[in-house]
């Protein structure tokens, strides 16, 4: 599979402070790529560098297999739709007028306006002034602007910001369906992992300008093996067995409940057999699954590979 976005050691510093630090982004064609990081991690700056809105201090950007530079800028932007630091729009104009301005700038037919209004469900409010819109509606208008002209690449910066739960759900299904519907590749940023889990195929995690993890969502989920909770009848006997095997154990609040660190299946099988033989009385065994939030936290705190 080809990369639609590729950055090579992309850096941006403001007054000597690194905001984006040697970023190597690889977004596969047809994927929905979740660009995740806390506020201030450098997501917006990175996205603005992809679009040529911000100039890199060093490093390079390739979109659709072409280097983003003065020469290729217009040709690349023609195939790209974006929503950066939303919401945007001219408040004294209607949604339709706003879209016709963007259609004009993109040099595309105004017929496309009705289609994008339909997609973001703003058809009924198309002739209302954007100044009267709710934040969620403005956000949807921003998406409509990005969708105009059926771009091959969509770059969306926190598009779910300001939406209500129903709106977020709608946006998720809209974005997740996009690669199949239009063949577009999507780079979407968020500070909420849980929001992304349901729509992305690839993930990049950014903190303090550095990429902590990049890969398929499943690979990130592999890191999700959490602690094991063990319920036994006889705690002292169990601890004896566990100590003998060198497994760190924590007593839980509830009686007869112990917490063990993540263990491989083989070690766990031997442990359960030994516990049973010692008469500790194994009643229950639960493997906790780390939520993406926890994985993210462990990634950002250790600033390295996941444990």
């Amino acid at each position: 599979m080809k990369n639609v976005i590729e950055t090579h050691n992309l850096c941006k510093s403001y007054h000597g402070r690194m905001v984006v630090d040697n970023l190597n982004l690889n977004v596969l064609q047809g994927s929905v790529y979740g660009f995740i990081g806390p506020n201030g991690a450098g997501k917006s700056t990175s996205m603005k560098m992809l679009l040529g809105l911000t100039h890199p201090t060093s490093g390079s950007v390739k979109l659709l297999n072409q280097t983003m530079n003065e020469e290729n800028r217009i040709a690349l932007l023609r195939q790209t739709g974006s929503l950066i630091e939303s919401p945007s729009g001219y408040l004294h104009l209607t949604a339709k007028e706003n879209l016709s301005i963007i259609a004009e700038l993109k040099g595309i037919s105004h017929k496309d306006i009705d289609r994008v209004l339909e997609i973001v469900k703003l058809t009924a409010d198309a002739n209302r002034k954007v100044g009267q819109y709710s934040l969620g509606m403005k956000q949807r208008l921003g998406i409509a602007m990005a969708l105009l002209g059926k771009p091959r690449l969509l770059i969306l910066d926190e598009p779910t910001n300001g939406l209500d739960p129903a709106g977020i759900q709608e946006m998720r299904s809209l974005i997740a369906s996009m690669p199949d519907r239009t063949g577009a590749t999507i780079l979407i940023s968020s500070h909420l992992l849980s929001e992304m889990e349901q729509m992305v195929t690839q993930v990049g995690i950014l903190n303090h300008g550095k990429m902590l993890f990049e890969g398929p969502l499943q690979e990130l989920q592999k890191h999700s093996h959490g602690n094991i909770q063990l319920k036994v009848l006889d705690v002292p006997k169990s601890i004896e067995v566990l100590n003998r095997q060198g497994i760190r154990t924590t007593m839980m609040q509830q009686p007869n409940l112990l917490e063990l660190p993540p263990l491989s299946d083989e070690i766990l099988a031997v442990l359960v057999r030994d516990l049973a033989e010692s008469g500790a009385g194994v009643v229950g065994l639960t493997t906790q699954t780390k939520s993406l939030e926890e994985i993210f936290l462990s990634l950002t705190q250790s600033s390295g590979e996941v444990a």
């Binding site: 603005k48 040529g52 630091e85 939303s86 919401p87 016709s100 301005i101 700038l105």
Partner: protein, 244 residues
């Protein structure tokens, strides 16, 4: 590409408050000029010419730079607000075309305003000052010259408003610009400073033509200032990061 940008820019003016300004300022300026003329009839004996000086003196010194500044500040304000910079700069158009489109729109507004000023001048001359005949054709020519001189001011104000996110600061700078224009003219540097060019072109407050014989230099100065401002705008748009 420029044409598309101009169409987009024109659409932004729809339902915009700028039109209030367009009608109001020239009316205030004309009212003030006519009043001044009628109060000083004993020293202002050149009829249409005298009324012209009264109408255009304040217009070209204060009202016009301020008005152009408001037009320019308004058009950039639309982009400064609500992160619209990001949208326009991520559009597949040359950044300088975005600037040029705003220039064309402000120039169009300024030219229309000029026409309106002339209309008001003629109307006031006939209705309030009861002047005989019609304004000398030469005066509409002064107006055209003023418009040419104004182009440099428009470009300068567009650069200022592009850089300064505040609405009021560039308008204030335009007022200072207007005053600096008078000072430059009085020191004999009228053709070197953009804010003087418009005043010189309008021949405001002078019965004798300031530009008599100096057309080549006047036009050259207008063109040089204009090109300089466009080059500056292009460099700024290309080199500066978009701060929306």
């Amino acid at each position: 590409m420029l044409k598309r940008c101009i169409i987009a820019e024109n659409r932004k003016l729809h339902a915009s408050p700028i039109w209030v300004m367009f009608f109001l300022l020239p009316i205030i300026s004309a009212g003030y000029g006519t009043f001044n003329y009628l109060q000083n009839l004993e020293i202002l004996k050149d009829k249409w010419y005298s009324l012209w000086t009264q109408h255009t003196l304040f217009y070209s010194m204060f009202f016009f730079p301020a008005m152009v500044a408001v037009y320019a500040a308004y058009l950039w304000r639309l982009e400064h607000l609500g992160h619209n910079w990001n949208i326009i700069m991520a559009s597949p158009v040359k950044p300088l075309d975005l600037f040029a489109a705003k220039f064309v729109v402000v120039a169009k507004l300024a030219l229309l305003t000029h026409g309106f000023v002339f209309l008001l001048y003629t109307f006031c001359g006939k209705t309030f000052a009861h002047l005989p005949g019609w304004p000398p054709i030469e005066l509409s020519f002064f107006l055209l010259r003023g418009a040419l001189g104004a182009l440099a001011v428009i470009a300068a104000q567009l650069v200022l408003s592009m850089l300064i996110r505040s609405f009021a600061v560039p308008v204030f700078l335009a007022l200072i610009g207007g005053i600096s224009g008078i000072l430059a003219s009085s020191k004999g540097f009228a053709l070197l400073w953009p804010y003087s060019l418009m005043q010189a072109g309008m021949n405001a407050n002078k019965s004798k033509d300031v530009l008599d014989g100096g057309y080549g230099l006047f036009i050259a100065s207008c063109v040089i200032w204009l090109i300089a401002m466009f080059i500056l705008a292009d460099i700024l748009l290309k080199k500066k990061d978009v701060r929306a």
